[in-house]
Symmetry: C2
Subunit: 627 residues, 2 copies
């Protein structure tokens, strides 16, 4: 167990990406600046025409790295990130600033002298909905209000500056046709994502905007299957490892590489203070599993958990700014014995805690019996539900069984209740599932949960590769993302073996960005293939630096290339280490094109038609000989 250490600026990564600059796109409906990353490209050298070049337009990409990659913003981890959404929230006139935090445990921690050295300094008073008010984005959406959050998301999701420009020519509502069906499907929506489309998807419950009024540092993002597939990165300490500084850097590091949300799964010491540091310094929504901390409060004895203690934990975390809570309210007593014959029983920590509590007390899950009271808390801060799949399968053999699907039906029942309260809701999914059983998970989830967004862990498609479960699960994640899952919870190489370190976090995030992007391509998201095409054109034209800079991980791409051809010259050479000077297929293709040019297209066509005729004759003649 390392000693606690609070974050210092030096320990937090904040260098911009190569050839990239932060740009801010102005809103049309609201006074907002949407942060994006613009990658500038080199000119194309026109083959065989010495010195002649043509320019390549810069590429804009969705950016989750927050202020850390903007050299114009001074980062002070002790003060936290700029409070981007604060004005938007307070100007709605439906929140009040509390004199002090409402949670008994929170106050206890605040007043404890021994914690002074590791407490986040700039503790601001929490906001809460005024009595009788509901501050959820779902509530606003249902009323027909397009919030600044919604417009921010619309601009951000489109990614492409060129599409955005067209968008300004009044082509706003094309996307509003696109929300039918179980995903974009194979047929690409030709339109653009509009603020009104965002509002409609949220109002329908098909998408959520995790945005606790006490986490104004978070840049608005959306989770729904008609938007870019999102990824979550889990961090957090445990009784046996990690420090606060490490966890904050892991969160910032995960966002740098593309994490759309962060879950703090800390189960060790000082998780209240650790969470505060993370929330104040993270530009994406934060999720937690409150039952973990509740269990710490009763020294790990599940049977000692009570509704009152859990309720105080929800309020404690809601006032810190947690954007979504995993709540295992679907683990009903009647489902528990269904897991007894499984190879790996119950593998969800939250699920097994509730199962143990139910059996110990011969009572139904208190998260289920108190669900409406939980909804009352959620809507006072706009915390979203992530209804936990406590009975998810822990191995291939246990996939798609009665316990798992029984719980899923209950999560569907709870979704309706949450929606009655205008509380935003997503549904958690497995786990370990072989490829041929993945689609059934998506279909049942859409049916039972009325199209609420699905949020899956992988799934892992085989159990036999510990040390490589980022890969076993990326296969399942890409597929279920294509089928309609809105957010993919990453799995790192350390899954089943240990807690992820910084390298594991990056490996997990990059691997899941690959899965999510592969799904966006398969779904035909209008902004997705743009980046693939730009990178492939750079690759074909031997613009090595552009290929690196357009990739998900420029550092690694450059490093791998330089292992075999380090010289700067090599990066502009018209060959690479795989083939050598005489022998590059891309060079030969260029020769083929030049040949076509030199001889004139018509002549080549004639030649081709001629040859086609000849080789048809040959084939026919051949066919006689051959068959």
């Amino acid at each position: 167990m390392k000693t606690e250490k609070t974050p210092t600026a030096q320990a937090i990564t904040q260098t911009p990406f190569p050839a990239s600059r932060k740009i801010y796109v102005k809103g049309q409906l609201h006074d907002i600046d949407v942060a994006m990353r613009e990658i500038s490209l080199n000119d194309t050298k026109l083959h065989g025409r010495f010195g002649e070049t043509e320019p390549n337009a810069p590429v804009t990409v969705y950016d989750t790295s927050g202020p850390y990659t903007d050299p114009n913003i001074v980062i002070d981890v002790k003060k936290g990130l700029p409070r981007l959404r604060e004005k938007w929230i307070t100007s709605r006139g439906d929140v009040e600033l509390l004199d002090s935090i409402s949670s008994a445990y929170g106050r206890e921690r605040l007043n404890s002298k021994e914690l002074d050295h590791l407490r986040f300094g700039y503790h601001s008073k929490p906001l809460r909905a005024k009595a009788g008010m509901n501050v959820s984005q779902l509530h606003y959406a249902k009323k027909g209000t397009i919030t600044p959050e919604m417009e921010y998301i619309a601009i951000r999701e489109n990614q492409r500056i060129d599409l955005l420009k067209q968008q300004l020519n009044g082509q706003y509502d094309v996307m509003s046709q696109q929300h039918q069906g179980h995903s974009f499907g194979a047929n690409t929506p030709k339109g653009y994502i509009t603020p009104e489309f965002v509002r409609q998807e949220v109002a329908a419950g098909r998408a959520v905007i995790p945005s606790n009024i006490n986490h104004p540092e978070s840049e608005p993002m959306i989770i729904g299957r008609n938007f870019l597939v999102k990824i979550n990165a889990n961090i957090g300490n445990s009784a046996v490892t990690s420090s606060i500084e490490e966890e904050v850097e892991k969160a910032v590091w995960a966002c740098r590489w593309g994490a759309d949300t962060i879950m703090d799964l800390s189960t060790g010491k000082n998780i209240h203070e650790t969470r505060e540091w993370i929330i104040r310094n993270t530009p994406v929504p934060i999720g937690t599993v409150p039952i973990y901390q509740a269990l710490e409060k009763v020294n790990g004895k599940a049977e000692d958990l009570t509704w009152e203690l859990f309720r105080d934990t929800l309020i404690e975390q809601a006032e810190q700014g947690v954007d979504y809570f995993t709540i295992h309210a679907g683990v009903l007593l009647r489902y528990v014995p269904l897991t007894a014959k499984r190879i790996t029983g119950i593998v969800s920590r939250g699920g097994s805690i509730m199962a143990k509590w139910c059996l110990a007390h011969h009572k139904e899950n208190f998260l289920y019996t108190h669900f409406e009271e939980i909804c009352e808390i959620m809507k006072a801060y706009d915390v979203a539900f992530s209804l936990g799949d406590g009975l998810r399968p822990g191995c291939i053999a246990d996939a798609n069984d009665a316990a798992q699907f029984g719980e899923l039906e209950t999560l569907g029942e709870l979704t309706k209740i949450a929606w009655k309260h205008d509380v935003q809701t997503i549904i958690e999914g497995p786990g370990h599932v072989p490829m041929h059983l993945i689609k059934e998970n998506m279909e049942k989830q859409l049916k039972h949960c009325s199209e609420a967004p699905f949020y899956t862990l992988g799934p892992l498609t085989t159990d036999i590769a510990p040390g490589y479960d980022h890969i076993t699960s990326a296969i399942g994640a890409a597929m279920i993302g294509w089928f309609g899952t809105a957010m993919l919870c990453y799995v790192t190489p350390k899954e089943h073996l240990g807690l992820p370190n910084k390298k594991d976090v990056k490996d997990g995030v990059i691997t899941y960005k690959i899965a999510a992007h592969a799904a966006d391509l398969a779904k035909g998201h209008p902004g997705a293939q743009y980046r693939d095409n730009a990178l492939s054109k750079a690759r074909f034209e031997f613009r090595w630096e552009d290929q690196f800079n357009l990739s998900l991980d420029p550092d690694t791409a450059k490093e791998f290339h330089d292992e075999t051809l380090p010289a700067e010259g090599a990066k502009i050479a018209h060959f690479c280490s795989m083939c050598g000077p005489n022998f590059c297929s891309m060079k030969i293709t260029q020769d083929v094109r030049d040949f076509a040019k030199e001889n004139g297209v018509n002549e080549v066509d004639a030649l081709t038609r001629g040859m086609e005729q000849k080789s048809k004759e040959f084939a026919e003649k051949g066919s006689e000989i051959y068959l």
Copy 2:
């Protein structure tokens, strides 16, 4: 460019796997010993019953590592591996031993003094079919002969000792029902793979057994969609990197981690000698792309290639023992202009070489016009065709276009010609393909190529992750393997950036074993899930060492675990670093089971039924309140 270095025993990895021993299963029809790997497991400690245990049966797995992992076999790289198949081949009475090698170039290299220091010493005279004879496994299969190779494969494919035992109780032909349809499909074949089933699949052209009569060191294996999905690892030097010793170690290293075949794609210096060293020391079939070496012979000038020079290259390599040749005979002149509008044109090296030749000479591809003469060479040594997809897409944007599918139809035409000569044939496939376009590739290949085995490179499902293309492609590989692709050509993290080093080769092989196994599970191969279940049971019972030893990469699994909990004690502890002592879901599940035991199943059932009733009432009552 490193200086040449011939292999020494020290440089070649030959340690057995942990807790594993090499076993040899006797044949029933032939006097053969089929090598397998047996992993022994620890006993299960029965929870709550001090000292009481129950044993776990050892797990047998398919093993491609060859004699290197058998401590009883002395390895001498200068002499090469034991010639396992030599007797089987010569005893068929249809081959003759030549006085000297037939290739002019081969003789030239053999007689060159400067090459003495890097030539493989034990050069044996080559075998060739007697005049008028055909020595291909396809030829034997069509005649109804079950060869030793076929029985070896049947035993090997079943993997499970327990299934094998049942097999000996005469349940031989169940599998012969299973060859219909495009793969095993979701429903598992209940039967076993029999020698007769192997013969039928080969006779039908649905499977190939690469087995050049001059590569007797190779252990028989099969490529077909009704068998385990296989993987290929590419190695080979280029003009700018690698030594002979490195390449041989890469080949042995790739086999250790699971490569079913090795392709030597050398394009640099001394590739004739490098190939000899690799073939003599590799226990799996070797594939090459002969046009690469042919191009070296004309100093990289594609237009200088001739049929005579290529023909001599085929004979040179066939007499060395290459088991399959990639031949780009489908790159027809009329297809070439179809690639001019692509983002990445022609990315296959062989394809672009032939395209350049065709245009330079205004002639049809000589591999196409001389195809029957190539067949005559193939059947004299039993070299299999791997019909190359020279026009495969090099990026997402170019996937499934007219050039690609035009060539595929021509490969189907050539397959029929090869089969007329009883030459075994597989078909190469892409490449870069987004998920939603993958299935079409499999369906068109089955249709146009009369169910000849498909052999794909990935496909990569996005272009934006250079440095991680083992992952972008594993997603596509697992899916197309499930759809029916018989062999997956690995992609390493260095794809597009450089030549793979040893670490890259291992990363690529393990990643592709994952993809292939995920496909076997989805196809319901009878022997596949056995290993997942054994590992998951070990995981659930905290048998850490067993979990490591059953995994694809025991070294990495153990190393990752030990990073956070190095103590030996931790490996028998009933918790892990992810959760800590109080907090392990698997421990809690065990408590749930114990609770069920203590209270008697009936009582729990009663309790459950009772609670089920209660919570139904609750839900109903709730429903009234709620909705």
